[in-house]
Symmetry: C2
Subunit: 698 residues, 2 copies
Amino acid sequence: LFSLAVSGQKHPGIMITGEQVPALRAGVNRYPLLKRSYREIKAAADAAIAQPVTVPVPKDGGGGVTHEQHKKNYTGILNCGIVYQLTGNKKYADYVKELLLQYAAKYESWPLHPARKNNKESGRIFWQSLNDFVWQVYTIQGYDLVYDAIDPKDREEIEAHLFLPILQFFTGHCAYIFNSIHNHGTWCLAAVGLTGYVLNKPEYVQMALKGSKLDGKSGYWAQLDQLFSPDGYYAEGPYYQRYALFPFLIFAKAIQNHQPRLHVFEYRNKLLAKAINSMLQCTYTNGAIFPLNDAIKDKTSETWELVYGVDIAYSDINNSNDLLDVAQQQGRVIVSDAGLKVAKAVYEKKATPFKYVSEWLSDGADGKAGGLGILRDGPNTDQQCVVLKATTQGMGHGHFDRLNLLYYDNGTEVFSDYGAARFLNIESKGGGGYLPENNSWAKQTVAHNTLVVDRVSDFKGSLEQAQATHPDLVYFNAKPGLQVMSAEEKNAYEGVVLNRVTALITIPELKKPLLLDVFTALSNGEHQYDLPFWYNGQLVDASFQFKAFAGELKPMGDKFGYQHIWLNAAAALNKEAGSITFLNKNRFYTTHFTSENPLTVNFVTTGANDPAMNLTTSRAFMLSRKSSGNATLVSITETHGVTDPVYETVTGAVPAISGVTLINNSEGKKTIVFWVNGKKEYRVTINYNDKNNFINLK
Amino acid sequence: LFSLAVSGQKHPGIMITGEQVPALRAGVNRYPLLKRSYREIKAAADAAIAQPVTVPVPKDGGGGVTHEQHKKNYTGILNCGIVYQLTGNKKYADYVKELLLQYAAKYESWPLHPARKNNKESGRIFWQSLNDFVWQVYTIQGYDLVYDAIDPKDREEIEAHLFLPILQFFTGHCAYIFNSIHNHGTWCLAAVGLTGYVLNKPEYVQMALKGSKLDGKSGYWAQLDQLFSPDGYYAEGPYYQRYALFPFLIFAKAIQNHQPRLHVFEYRNKLLAKAINSMLQCTYTNGAIFPLNDAIKDKTSETWELVYGVDIAYSDINNSNDLLDVAQQQGRVIVSDAGLKVAKAVYEKKATPFKYVSEWLSDGADGKAGGLGILRDGPNTDQQCVVLKATTQGMGHGHFDRLNLLYYDNGTEVFSDYGAARFLNIESKGGGGYLPENNSWAKQTVAHNTLVVDRVSDFKGSLEQAQATHPDLVYFNAKPGLQVMSAEEKNAYEGVVLNRVTALITIPELKKPLLLDVFTALSNGEHQYDLPFWYNGQLVDASFQFKAFAGELKPMGDKFGYQHIWLNAAAALNKEAGSITFLNKNRFYTTHFTSENPLTVNFVTTGANDPAMNLTTSRAFMLSRKSSGNATLVSITETHGVTDPVYETVTGAVPAISGVTLINNSEGKKTIVFWVNGKKEYRVTINYNDKNNFINLK
Ligand SMILES: [Zn+2]
Ligand SMILES: [Zn+2]
């Protein structure tokens, strides 16, 4: 058990510690980031105390009146706790006390929530226990902040009739979740552990760390071991990583403050630092989090959980000044010890541009279950970024998108992922939850920039099968000028082995690297291959004739997502190579492509079989062909030119690459030849089986 | 005739005058806006002189090699002229001299341009004379700037063999254009007038001012009289006004410098100031120019012509500090006397927010040919803006969009106009010119937020008929809290009189005004009425059931633009009132609507009958009904709520208005009743025939 200071537990002791309060009080007047952040919290706290204390009997499900009131109460408690510490004004502490006394008077009489979906996951304040855990993570911090302002008799009342029953509920009725290796479990144990520290109940802290049997098979350390890869990648993907990190970090801060000898931030080779960093590396320079799996697309690094991540990383783990760049973009800090350090350093102009890197983030607890490849080139002001998704399925929120590719440039998405079919919190759209089209469209393979075999999704859309295996890393090398990554998927389709090689290639004639993409399917059978590129922008040119359907649109298929695609045009080419040019945010992109045989190019738009008009419009060009035997789809995407709306000029609208062909096409070796400005010839050779000479450019 | 100073003509004397050069030289090192602007020009000038002097024999049409070279030459001449004045470095003057001597050696040998479309509008340097005029407007300024650095013998050569022949060509062969009341004429006369001043040939200046017969029936003054309304509105609309203003302003500056007693800036009650101001008032707070008629949509107030407008307005006409706000947004100034004043004032922090106003901009030389109504509410950081287009047709670039409505809010378009179907300067898209869909779609009535009768465009799409008449102003009042405008169109459809009343109504329950829109069609016959609202954003709710076509899309019609619309869903309502909610840039908009009888709501998307995929995707909900006799379509658009992607919260997603009905529905009077928050009742009464009590709210 941990030993507390002889004088007993000190309060506050989580995000704000007593010793830092004087500095924090000075800081909120001095450092703009902290000042602005505090002003928001102060305004919210003042708004809260202006309302009567309301603790309704739990009744409504998500979004309902009692649900929203209990949510308001926990943010009110935390905000008032912070403002009490910073102002010393007792009215804020009294508000917290009143609320908690009312909860204490009622909590024990509340049974499982009437709107629960099942008993096992039911909360008592909310319809699902997850919300109860979150409630407690916020509330216990607020209580810690006003602890000294509440007289012992009232504290006794609150602890005996609210917090202890909650601890018992979380570790008793909710033991299944408490001991699970899952982000709901993280919230549960963080709530228990924080409460254990604040109430000075070491036995609960121990359970939070080692599981309710104290055997280490579950609990905080086990979760850190199993939920993250050695690179800090979280199996469900960056959108969920952001959410999952939050309770990990708050509890880590409490562990560090109360039991520094556990060296929580050093655990597993600084796993928490890696998790924060990999999260930030899973963003583009515009802050957008890579929208993999069931992600809401407007999510950026400004999200509140990443404010915690950046501030704690900077203050407690690794005070790298490039984190300050992210903090500046976030425009806020936690009003806390950590936020004070960040705001001060930003004020002192220590920020340097965030160091985006090219890297392979391994997936799996052992780091051997595939991973996410990221290649980048150029300054943060105009960066190219390519992502190859070769991770595990990511459980129930995972998409069937093995070897999916994302491409960013010029501060925006070029080839993108649909993300989730969901309007978060918008009641009229399926109650704000996942829409039916999330399964029928967003998760399907064809919704992604990856190969679809026989117009069926990976693993025929079976989560169980998809979860059972993973793609494999073939090669990764971020050598400047010729960055390359390759991964392989053997299980998504029976009898077909998929491999993708994606590279950023710099040639002296062009300012920006070329995006080379070589997708191979090895198979003996005859198959239909479709490789869509979901592009952003407006189609402006093609090397071939096509004619969009004028008087009628039909869906492209009837299942695996094809039922949601309107086929706008289908052009059967009469030669192997071709190109398509589109204009996106005043810049041109031309995708030059080729294959062993002429392709059919399909132009498609989402929106078919969508009676409630739930889908947003996306557009793709899809390279398609039938093949008996191996198939190779090669593309080189070139960025060129600019339209200047101020001067009404267009420059460089014509691509520099004038042809691409595939030669030496064997299973182990492929050579792609392309010409620049009609004369200079380049050859890229991929040696699939030679790690010492995987790719070369001549 | 004007009298020059005894010492003869002084150089330079147009945008930069000799006396201001020392101040300008100091200013480019001191004032950031001027510094940055000069740096751009210096870089462009250095790039120009690094290239060999090239004066090719004219051969290619727009976009071709010789075309682009001659364009490069005139910007090079002007840029080098400016840099010569600011550095005194003679190499820049020598470059201009070399170029001009080469032109002088060749110009007289060039016949009409080989790529001309007809003789009348042919240039000699370019395929159309307009480009020759522009060339000369730039070039003569550059010559003026380096005049003193060229020795008299070379000047004699250049004037005798280049500029005099040009003057003769412009006033001779091009006399038809020179004397026309049209923006090509403005460029022509500005070129002639500027050249007259620089060469000290008063006879040419006189012709520029009064027409080639000196009778005042054409020329600068006549153009100022006839091309603009008394409010400074230009008949072709703001997109063309921007372009047309440019030669007016440069020539005005030259007139002011050389013949201040002509008081050009005072002419016609300060018409030029009004033209600049009305241009700026035809923008939204994000800088976007209202995309009326054949407008390219990404055009903003940052356009180069408006930099001239703002700088000259500030320095020479009306140094109102709110113009500096626009200059700051533009981020650049003219490197000139005017730009110096602006940059200095901005540096001295004199800028105040630009004063957007609600106003009626009359159209027609007499101000009695309809006009453009603009209502605004709120600060520049979050302004609502409604535009009612009741102007004349605007000639060949005009759209058949009588009583069209635009609506902006939250820094973005809410109900928008398609603008022109054109990808400016993108060769692969119809050579960068107007696409066939500009006529078949963009100009048609249904492409606009206005009433279509019997699925036929205004005037059956006849320009001649549309040009012959104009809508009329009925009422305009910008009283805070109840701003209203109304216009009437009697000629667009035989036997149908159209009237639109559009108002911004403030009620205490809501933070933002409501957009009330009452469209009436008076007719004895039976007609089909369609009122589309081309909205931006994503549909999230409707008060009625609808089911989008799932397995097939068909165009809505076969002519007048309907052939380009896919019908996604058609919902025949069973009651008079209904509502539609959409989400745009994190804010909700609900349009509540009603009519005398239940409407059919059509959800539509552009893209049908578009074989080359030239159209961008737009979406509308269209209120439709058949009516024998008068029809009234009422809508109230409410803005509410916000989604916060950072905190993942949604507030105010439910509209406050809970119903709208139409009572007292006669030709002269209509009362619209609506309820707020389910209880408070409001009545808006419109008395169409009572200008003293046109609208009231109870
Ligand atoms: Zn996806
Ligand atoms: Zn239009």
